[in-house]
């Protein structure tokens, strides 16, 4: 870790100004990812800009019936906010499926979008990594890639975006609010994170100096038929091998509207409109779900250690849609508890 200066920005505009005034500045939210990256010398900002005083921690209703999450709202406050729990339980469950209570108490919603991949090589300076050092090569290809992507990969990077929260935000079609040197703008959630292509060093479409100020959730929250299913190497405190955010609007047995997004499988939360289209208008049956799963995984590619994710994702999609239909909303497969044969 190198030495750095720190200022607590009094307001959004001042934060942006401060960022432009320094060469290697970084915003800091809860610091749960950034500080680790700095300790490992993966990130070496020379100036940190604190955001706690920028007034961005509120969660408030929008006139159109939606909900605005301030970028500085913590993951914990978001998950347990009454409006989120009631109207966007998919989001609440996804957030609670991530990290640990201590981390969620610190982590901010803005930081969650911006967290970097957990690729082992990205974190280890002794190994080549295009994302960390463009042009050095991708060690995960041909290496240990158990946690890596099966969709939307490129020859230069097969990393995943590790967030759970973002998978729900993708499914719910949130909008990212941004403030930057050229004023404010909004970014549709699906356009926020990038695929690696030949520039894996860029995780998203934020421009230099831009600050996330909030997230807008549309009025439609799928509060009845939803499921966030997360599969991982232990029951808590592990990143998703595969996760599925499924949200349905049902009319009797018929699917009126559907959302389907996956985590742990791509460089961005993977929402598939074509798969959603295969669900809409169809009966909510296992066959329908399987067709949607096949659509999502068409073109999926394994790299050895992670090839199992293709089959796992297929099964997880079917299970999540089933759970959404049956309203057995679960973040994982904890159904086994407290019973003996």
């Amino acid at each position: 870790m190198n030495s750095f200066t720190f200022t607590q920005a009094p307001a959004v505009a001042a934060a942006v100004q401060d960022n432009l005034a320094h060469e290697d500045a970084a915003y800091i939210g809860g610091g749960t990812n950034l500080l680790d990256l700095m300790k490992e010398n993966v990130a070496r900002p020379t100036h940190l800009i604190g955001l706690k005083k920028t007034g961005l921690a509120a969660i408030e209703s929008l006139p159109d019936g939606g909900l605005r999450l301030g970028a500085l709202a913590t993951n914990a406050d978001t998950a347990w906010h009454p409006d989120v729990e009631k109207r966007y339980p998919l989001l609440s469950q996804a957030v609670l499926a991530g990290a640990s209570p201590q981390l969620r108490n610190m982590a901010t919603d803005g930081g969650n979008l911006m967290q970097r991949t957990r690729c082992y090589y990205f974190y280890d300076l002794a190994t080549p990594c295009n994302k960390r050092e463009p042009g050095s090569g991708c060690s995960a290809i041909g290496g240990y890639n158990r946690i890596h992507a099966i969709l939307g990969t490129s020859e230069s990077c097969i990393a995943t975006h590790p967030s759970d929260m973002c998978v729900a935000l993708a499914a719910l079609a949130a909008t990212v609010r941004v403030s930057g040197p050229h004023g404010e703008r909004t970014i549709a959630f699906g356009d926020f994170h990038r695929l690696p292509g030949d520039a894996p060093e860029r995780d998203n479409t934020l421009e230099p100096g831009e600050l996330i100020t909030g997230l807008d959730l549309p009025a439609k929250g799928f509060e009845k038929n939803y499921s966030y299913l997360k599969l991982r190497d232990r029951t808590s405190y592990a990143f998703a091998l595969v996760s599925v955010a499924a949200a349905l609007e049902l009319d009797g047995d018929t699917i009126k509207d559907a959302r389907l997004a996956l985590g742990g499988v791509a460089h961005k939360p993977w929402r598939d409109p074509a798969a959603e289209a295969l669900l809409i208008g169809q009966p909510a049956t296992a066959d329908t779900f399987r067709r949607a799963a096949a659509q999502v995984l068409e073109g999926a590619q394994g790299y050895g250690h992670n090839t199992f994710k293709i089959e796992l994702a297929r099964r997880a999609i079917v299970r999540a849609l089933k759970q959404a239909t049956e309203m057995t909303q679960r973040t994982d497969d904890n159904a086994f508890l407290n019973s003996n044969p």
Partner: protein, 746 residues
Amino acid sequence: MTLQTDYIGKPTNRVDGPAKVLGTAKYAAEFNVPNLLYGYVVSSPITKGNITKIDAAPVLALPGVHRVFSHENVPSLAWFDRSYKDDVAPGGSPFRPLHSAEIKFSQQPVALVVADTFELARYAASILHIEYEEEAHETELAKHLDEAYQPGKGKTGYQPPKSRGNFGRGWAQGVAHMEGQYSHHAQHHNPMEMFASTVEWLGDKKLNVYDKTQGAFNSQQYIMKVFGLSKEQARVVSKYTGGGFGSGLRPQYQLFMAVLAALELERSVRVSLTRQQMFSFGHRPETLQHVALAAAADGSLTGINHVAVAETSQFEDFTENVVGWSGTLYDCKNVQLDYRLAKLDVFTPLDMRAPGAATGSIGLEIAMDEMAYAAGLDPLEFRIRNYSDFDQAQNLPYSSKNLRACYREGAAKFGWERRDPRPGSMRDGNLLVGWGMGGGIWDAQKQPAQAQASLDADGHLTVSSGSNDIGTGTYTIMTQIAAESLGLPLEAVTFVLGDTELPEAPVQGGSWTAASIGTAVQEACAALGEELLKQAQKMDHAAFKGVKIDDVQFANGQMRLRTDLTQAVVLRDLVQASGQPKIEAKNAKLPGLIDMVKPPKYSMHAHNAVFAEVKVDPDLGTVHVTRVVNAVAAGRIVNPKTARSQVLGSVVWGISMALMEESVMDHRFGRFMNHNYAEYHIPVNADIHDIDVIFVHEEDAEVNPLGIKGLGEVGLLGVAAAVCNAIYHATGKRVRDLPVTIDKLL
């Protein structure tokens, strides 16, 4: 011998609990001695080759940086290998930090940057420019099986496994057979507390060393030999250890680094390792096993063949007993055992909780399950039919063995008789249910140790021994044993450990501490009792005239005549009357070599039986271990509360071995890649459900006067196998390569 049981055998809270909860218990990196400098270790990014250049100038130019130590400027130290050999060193030539330009393993420490602050040292280390010339390395065990060799008898007591009978004949005699290959990968101890040493410079090469270790004397010996220090110059203190599991059995390189820097700079220095660097030294070695079993029509084993190949470093032969247990645990005439090592470009492996046995019991106990199925027998019934009542490997009777009770009581508690043996036959809703079992055997060991007991004029007893408490409960049980021995309330007893100024004790390992230090404490208290009796007799206490020590008892803070309990003297009064501030005594001198090589008369072992239930999602491959019953026969249980903790921890550990734990190496780099707590998975609370611990009754007058066998390790045995066997029972899938992760069950 009957012991009074005011304290021994009663569940007792940890006496060091308040200090730990209140944060007054200080660990090696928490001693903030004045004028402290901080060292940060630079680790090699390559696995094999040479350092060709170190450019320290820019780092040294930073204000506040004091020195960069490397092989280029380390003063001449001890030359012979033996100086670098610690008590636990295996055969070979120990790694010497900063000794030469040669790189022998990934993350080898190559330099130490010492600065005014930790932050500065860390930053300086990150910009230290080092150039390497890389050579091809070999880290893949599977590619080196052909070169595997049988290690020779080591000075540290390694005994090659003994075969007996004729396996080929036994195999031919069998009507049912099985063969299987089993494997697990490297695992790292990963105690919560990272390795650290704070070396306080007291002038004149006199050092106080606060070290994270499982043996203060081992660390002391090491630095004395390497740096040419006297005992007085090298005091080592280690009062609290934030987990060891074997990782602290050998002095780690931060100790060398911190002492080197302190001596050279004549300043106090602290060196602590990072979590990533915790993956840079000893680990449970990757081991490949082959087991073949044959059984007769009545289910009796006619042949056992157990072969293991494990990794070791290029410079030392790390050995452990992986296959030997297979010649003891079950009754069988024809046993063929083989254990080999293959040299790789890695750091030397290191004992890790139940070393060898934890590994071997995976192979043997999964194989026993497979054999039970092949023979059409219930796995428990199969084991009972092959129960060993006599140790055929050592040709000795057992001093005691109540594994039968483990089977009986464990099975009853678990409800084993309700098991439908057919794989996939039991369900809970959508989930597959599996019941599996396993078990194991571990040495009941005892090492020579010294202790001192001292009673002051307030009637407070202080007992000391330079042992260690790695969280096992040593402080507590020694307090119990001492209080019991001299009939004092627990509050009137303090046990002191972890300091080379105290009477000498062995490293804390092998589950021998309770037996070894416990015996020393009991003896020291008995010796003090004699001193107290002498004092009473000096005082012309008529009742105690001519009385022998066996004629008195200690209770309620008094010494009393057994024949007339009203004839009593308060211990405190004896000290006061002596005119001395205290009366003290030590146990007898450490036994000489002659005593130690006396042939044993008994085979002394602890045993356990484990029953596990898993629930498996048939579509998603997720496994949950919903119930475990672990029944342990380990002699006298001094403190059922801390003992239970040991076994609970063992069960969690076994679940971890079965389902999660693996240090994953990328062989292209020869480097462990998941080197942090986020990616090196061990269970979290949500993974752990019901665990029942049973201690079956077992009396043993032969192991030691207290009848203690030790249980820091035995509880781990068979847990991973029981979980794997339960998974087979649930799913019909036999996974022989651990850990059993989701992908292996899809």
